[in-house]
């Protein structure tokens, strides 16, 4: 694999046949981007001395920086490409993943859960589980998160390399090694601080690079009304521009999903689970300088998340209006046409002239790197504090110095990057690994949410309840997944409809395993001995003193801004009903 590495890939990509070619101005913009991200890491190295600096960015981030980094860590290039393609395939329904599939969960995290994460002073989500339920639940969560994070990072890395090859003709090895080693350098140098600062920079670049498409696209189609008219003209049989109207029955929409799947599966379970327990995003909030900033950060993030469809979904819809002949991947391969998976680069090539193309490609690279840095910095923290430290202390009977753990964190970063690179090459030869790792990831997320939520809000939840609830949730998720794999007709039972498709299965599987996890946690907790209030101080509602915000003016209170975001969220859903 490595022996095929091309030492002069830069020479290769100019001659390749691809969707677009870059001018020297575009290339200069990309080179400057790489210089800046490494420069930031180098500059911040001098401020990264202690474990708190390296793993928690010194816990001194403002609400804005923590909030933007919170959203940027999730806004990968594949997300941009993938959801633009989904918008072409499913229409505006894809927006649910940005609105009901994110906003309520982010606000819930800010108002209900952040106080416990923040006041407990945990370094990580598995760390919180460890404090609340003991080592068993914490270790399940840490190990699964650690492995899954770097595997997913490798999968994303490989997918990005493929995108760059198709789009620009770049050598796959070149894309994988240059981007991942750059991330490694700036995270090793500056830790979470460097990852967060770069994420904020990358977030700005993603917006400024991707905004070109919706703006020129809307000018070309004559605004929103003109775009909708063109879509209806191109696809008279389908409804691509209404969010809720077609969700009354699974057979009325291309996703094959009923509104209950979107509201309860996506909104109440999957998104709650991801946004409130995935340490990749929560770590950014824990780096905030005080509790108020930590609560405001997800609210600020929610405001920006709500706008992301403008640069992701709208290009897909504009594609339906101006590029009506894109087809599925298999058909594109047979006919030699373009697939809707290429809609974003095709739109970029359609509108972006010199420099703007480079900015757009930089946006995609920035998206990938912010996602990867998020994965790698979270991986380093969890492995150092939640896996390595307990083992080290047990074996050596020595707590270890702070500088020792910083050194281990840096090594974990290097190892994490190389495992990711290895996964990327593995996926190249065994494509099915991608599906299995994604499935594996989905097994852990929903059950974790139920367990953590009960742990924060119900002081009667016990160590055994948490462990067995988590175990039962994960087990039931694996069982349902295996059942559908073995007997595809089981899908209609799990997803409650004969017309259900894969997407619907994910929603309902998350819902059922989350509920099973909660039920088992409750039952086992009621049968076992709870911890005392003193042991739960700082971890659970009722045993934790949460500082009052009563002395603050209304517009400085997180709850006020959460209300504002909620009102906008409801209004948007009504407008695009």
């Amino acid at each position: 694999m490595i022996s095929n590495f091309n030492l002069h890939p830069i020479l290769a990509f100019w001659n390749a046949s691809n969707l677009m070619s870059l001018s020297w101005v575009d290339s200069l913009i990309i080179v400057i981007y790489f210089a800046f991200v490494i420069g930031i890491g180098y500059y911040l190295m001098r401020f990264t001395k202690t474990g708190e600096d390296f793993f928690m960015a010194g816990r001194e981030m403002t609400a804005w920086i923590a909030g933007l980094s919170f959203v940027a860590a999730n806004l990968g290039s594949l997300e941009l490409m993938g959801w633009a393609a989904s918008a072409y395939q499913y229409g505006i329904l894809a927006t649910h993943w940005y609105w009901i599939g994110a906003i309520p969960a982010m606000l819930f995290l800010a108002i209900v859960m952040i106080p416990f994460y923040y006041i407990s002073k945990t370094h990580s989500v598995p760390g919180y589980l460890n404090m609340r339920y003991g080592a068993g639940a914490g270790m399940i969560s840490a190990t699964s998160f650690g492995f899954m994070t770097v595997f997913m990072s490798g999968i994303n890395m490989y997918s990005m390399a493929i995108v760059m090859k198709v789009m620009l003709g770049w050598d796959i090895h070149f894309s994988i090694w240059v981007s991942s080693l750059t991330v490694m350098v700036y995270v090793v140098l500056g830790g979470l601080l460097s990852a967060i600062f770069n994420e904020v920079l990358q977030f700005m670049l993603i917006w400024l690079g991707a905004l070109v498409i919706p703006i020129i696209g809307l000018i070309e189609t004559g605004g929103w009304t003109g775009m909708v008219a063109r879509i209806h003209q191109n696809f008279p049989a389908g409804d691509y521009t209404h969010l809720w109207r077609t969700l009354g029955s699974a057979q009325d929409n291309p996703m094959g999903i009923h509104w209950t799947g979107i509201v309860f599966g996506l909104g109440a379970m999957i998104s709650m689970a991801y946004w409130t327990t995935d340490f990749l995003v929560v770590q950014r909030i824990l780096a905030a300088k005080n509790l108020r900033s930590a609560k405001l950060a997800p609210i600020i993030g929610a405001g920006f998340k709500m706008m992301v469809p403008f640069i992701v979904i709208l290009p897909g819809l504009l594609g339906l209006a101006v590029l009506p002949h894109l087809v599925g991947e298999n058909e594109a391969r047979l006919t030699g046409g373009h697939s809707y998976n290429e809609v974003l680069p095709l739109m970029l090539a359609r509108y972006a002239g010199p420099g703007l193309l480079g900015l757009g490609v930089t946006a995609l690279i920035a998206g990938f790197m912010s996602g990867m840095a998020g994965n790698i910095s979270a991986f380093a923290t969890v492995w150092t504090y939640d896996i390595y430290k307990p083992i080290h202390v047990k074996l050596t009977k020595n707590e270890g110095t702070d500088s020792h753990y910083v050194k281990i964190g840096r090594w974990c970063t290097v190892i994490g990057v190389f495992i990711s690179i290895g996964t990327a090459y593995l996926v190249q030869f065994f494509a099915s690994i991608m599906d299995y790792v994604q499935a594996l990831f989905s097994f852990f997320v929903a059950p974790l949410f139920g367990t953590i939520l009960l742990g924060m809000l119900w002081k009667r939840a016990t160590k055994a309840g948490g462990f067995w609830g988590l175990f039962a949730g994960i087990g039931s998720s694996i069982a349902m997944w295996a059942w559908v794999k073995a007997d595809p007709s089981a899908l209609k039972i799990i997803a409650l409809s004969e017309h259900a498709k894969d997407m619907a299965e994910n929603m309902y599987r998350a819902l059922w395993c989350g509920l099973i996890g909660i039920a088992v946690t409750v039952i086992v907790s009621l049968l076992t001995k709870p911890k005392t209030d003193a042991e739960l101080k700082g971890l659970v509602r009722g045993c934790t003193e949460i500082p009052s915000e009563g002395d603050l003016p209304l517009f400085k209170r997180p709850i006020f801004w959460a209300g504002v975001i909620l009102v906008i969220f409801i209004a948007l859903n009504i407008i695009f009903w």
Binding site: S23, I32, F36, L201, L208, G353, P354, G355, L356, L359
Partner: protein, 73 residues
């Protein structure tokens, strides 16, 4: 300033946007006046690159000067 760091991230963002804006602005102005330029993109007559370059320069300048490290507290 942000915490102990002398250089704010907003200053760095301003600097980068300023550099990008200048590059995009100059290359698109050249493209506009050059007789050899090939306008293959849709709506090239809008010269969007010039507008976008100018916007980046303005945003970059605002951030660059608002968060400059040598600014007195």
């Amino acid at each position: 300033m942000i915490g102990r760091h002398k250089i704010s991230i907003w200053f760095i963002i301003g600097l980068q946007l300023l550099i990008y804006g200048i590059i995009i602005l100059i290359s698109n102005i050249y493209d506009y006046i050059s007789p050899f330029a090939q306008n293959t993109i849709v709506l090239s007559e809008l010269h969007f690159g010039i507008w976008w370059g100018a916007i980046l320069v303005i945003i970059g300048l605002i951030y660059f000067f608002s968060f400059r490290p040598w600014k007195k507290a």
